[in-house]
C-alpha cells in the first residue's frame, strides 16, 4: 500500500468517525435526537382514545403549547394553528388511516406519522410569519392537497 493510500484511508475513516461523534453529541448532549416516540394506540379507535378524542391546541406553560393532532386523508385536525412568537410547541401526532408525514417548511419539523403509533416532536417558533405544514409521505389521490398552516404572531 502506498503512503498516500494509507493517508486517504485514515482520512476516510476519520471523516466517518467525526460524523458519528457529531451525530452522537447533537443527539445526546444537545437533545436534538430524531423523533422516536414509542407509544401505541388502536388505529381504529383514535377518536375514542385520549388525548386524540379532543384534538386541539392547549397552553401548558409560559410560551409553551401542546398540540394534539390527528392526520387523516387528506387533512390535519386541528387546521390553521396560531401561536405567539417565541413559543415552544410540542406536537403529539397519530394517523387515523395510512402512513403520513408531518413536515413544516423552513423548520426542522419532519416526522413520520403512522397508524397505531403516537409520534412526538417539538419546535420553538421565533420568527413571526405563516408556516406551511404539509404531508410529505404519499398517502393517496389527494396527497398534494394535504396541507395547513401555523401562524406565528
Amino acid at each position: 500500500m502506498h503512503l498516500d493510500e494509507k493517508i486517504w484511508l485514515f482520512l476516510s475513516f476519520g471523516m466517518i468517525m467525526i460524523f458519528m461523534i457529531f451525530t452522537g453529541y447533537q443527539a445526546v448532549a444537545l437533545e436534538m435526537g430524531p423523533p422516536s416516540h414509542k407509544e401505541t394506540i388502536d388505529p381504529q379507535k383514535v377518536d375514542q382514545t385520549a388525548p386524540f378524542d379532543n384534538p386541539g391546541i392547549k397552553q401548558i406553560g409560559e410560551n409553551e403549547y401542546e398540540v394534539v393532532m390527528t392526520l387523516q386523508i387528506f387533512s390535519f385536525t386541528p387546521m390553521d394553528i396560531e401561536v405567539p412568537a417565541g413559543s415552544t410547541v410540542h406536537f403529539t401526532l397519530t394517523s387515523k388511516d395510512v402512513t403520513h408525514g408531518f413536515q413544516v417548511a423552513n423548520t426542522n419539523i419532519n416526522a413520520m406519522v403512522m397508524p397505531g403509533h403516537i409520534q412526538k416532536i417539538s419546535q420553538k417558533f421565533d420568527k413571526p410569519g405563516k408556516y406551511l405544514v404539509l404531508c410529505n409521505e404519499y398517502c393517496g389521490a389527494g396527497h398534494q392537497a394535504m396541507s395547513t398552516t401555523i401562524t406565528v404572531k
Binding site: I16, T40, P43, Q44, T99, N110, M112, M114, C139, S147
Partner: protein
Amino acid sequence: MQTALKTTSIKQKTNQALGVNLEDARISKSYLAVAFIAVLLGGLLGLVQGLNRAGVLTLPAWANYYQVLTAHGLLLVVVFSAFFTIGYFYAGLSHTLGGLLPKVRKIAWVGFWTKIVGFVLVVIPVLMNEASVMYTFYPPMAAHPMFYFGLVLIVLGVWALSVGAFMQVAHWRKNHKGQHLPIMAFFATGVFILLVGATAFVAVEVLFLIIPWVLGWTDGINVMLSRTLFWAFGHTAVNIWYLTAVSAWYVVIPKIIGGHRWSDLLTRMVVIPLVIMNITGGFHHQIVDPAISEGIKYMHVFMSLAIGFPSLMTAYALFRVFERTARQKGGTGFIGWFKKMPWGDVRFLSPFIAMVAFIPAGAGGIVQSTNQLDQVVHNTMWIVGHFHLTLGMSVVMTFFGISYWLIPYLSKRVLTPNMNKVGVVQTIIWTVGMVIMAISMHIAGLFGSPRRTSFTTYGDFAEQLGWNPLMAAVGIGATLLLIAVILQVYAVFNMMFFAPKGETEFPIAEEEPGAAKTPYWTERWGVWVVLMLLVISMAYVIPIVDMIVNAPPGSPPFKTW
C-alpha cells in the same frame, strides 16, 4: 499443473476463436432487451412527471400522477436494473468460467419467464389504477392482490437466477481447487448473495404479512414491521445495482483505457465488506419513524456510514488506476496526465462521468444517513435528487457505457465509430439533463418541497418558498433525459440486430505484471455469509422483536387513491 495450464489455455483459445457461446448470449441478450425497453418506458413516464411538477402538463383523468410515478419507479429501479444486472453478470460468468452449464442455462430461462410473468401481474393492476402504491407499497395502503402475487414471482425468479449463478461458481471451484475465482465471477457471487439476502426480507413481508391480509385471512397488519422489512430490501436493492456498476469500474474500465487492474486483494476486500454490511443500511430510511428508540437509530448511523468506507477505497483505487495508465502513456504533470485519457470513447466516458457523480452522490448519502441532517431532508425532493445522482448517474451511466461493448460482444457485431459518436452525444445530453435535474431537486428539497407529490402550489407557498424555478428546471432536465434515452435505446437495438458483423472482446483487465499473489482467505464465502448474517442479526433482532412484542392493534387495508 501442466494439465491445468493446458486446459486454461485451450479454454482461452476457444473463447478467442469462437467468441461468445451463442446459447449463453441469447440469455443475456434477452435480459438486456427487456432492460432497455423498460428504460424507454420509464424515461417516458419520467418526462410526464417532470413536466407535471414543472406545472406545464396537466395529466388526463385516466392517468394520475401517482400511477405514473409507481410505474416509473418499478420500471427503472426493479425492471431495468435487475434485468441489466442479471444479463451482464450471466455474460460475465459465461465468459470467465468457461460457458454456462446446461442446467444453469435452463434455470436462467425459467427465471426469465418467472420474472416476466411476475412483472405482467404487477403491471396489470398498476395500469388499472388498482396499485398506485409506489415502489415502497407501505401498508396499510393495499393494492390489488395480483400486484403482490406478481412480486412473489419476481422474487422467485431472482432466487432461481441466484441458484444458477451459485451452481456455476461451485462447479468451477470444484474443478479449480485452490484457485481464486476470476474477479468478474467474484463480484457476481457477491451480487447474487446480496440479492438473495435482500429479497428474503421483502418475501417475508409480502408472503406472511401482506398477502394473508389483502385476502382477508387476517384482520390487521403490523405497519412498522412491514415497513422495516421493506427497507431491508429496498435499500439493499439499489446498493446491489451500485455494486454491479463498481464491478465494471474495477474490472472493465482499466482494460478499456489500456491499463491494469487495481490490486486484486484490495478489490476483493471492497466486495467482501459491501456484502457483509449492506443489508443493515436500510434502517436509515426510518430515522424519523416512531417506535424505534434513539439508541437503535444511533447504532444504525454507524452501520450505514460503514458502507461508505469501501466506497472511499474505491474512489482512491480508480483514480490511481487512471493516473498510472495515463502516465504510462506519457501523461505528465500533477493533473496534466488527464489529457491522456480516451475521452472520445463512450465505453470510458460514460462510466467515468458515472464515477465522478458518485462523489457528490456518496457525500449526500453520508449526510442523509446522519440522524439530525436526515430530519431536514427526509421525504423531500433532496432524496429524489440523491437517487437520481446515485442511480440515474453512477449506476445507469455505467450500465449505458457497458452496453456499447457488451451488446456487440453478445451479438457478434462491432461498435462502429459512428455509433460511438451517438454514444458520446447521448452521454453528454444525459449528463447535462441529470445534473440540472439533480441539483434543482437537492435545492428544492432543502427549501422543503416534498417528494412524491403531484403539482401543487400550496396556495402561494410554492412561490414564496422559491420552489417554482427549481421545479421548472426539473422539467427541462427530464426533457433532455428523454432525448438521451431515445438515443441510447436506438443504439442498443442497432448494436443488437443491425451493426456490422465482427468480433468484439469482453474486456477484462489483467493484474499488474509481478503483482503480489492474493492470499486464499478472500475465497471463503462461507465465512463472509456467516458474518453477513451476524451483522444482520445484530442490527435487526432487537428492533424487530420489539415491533412484534409491542405491536399496536393491526391496521385494516385502505385504498386511498
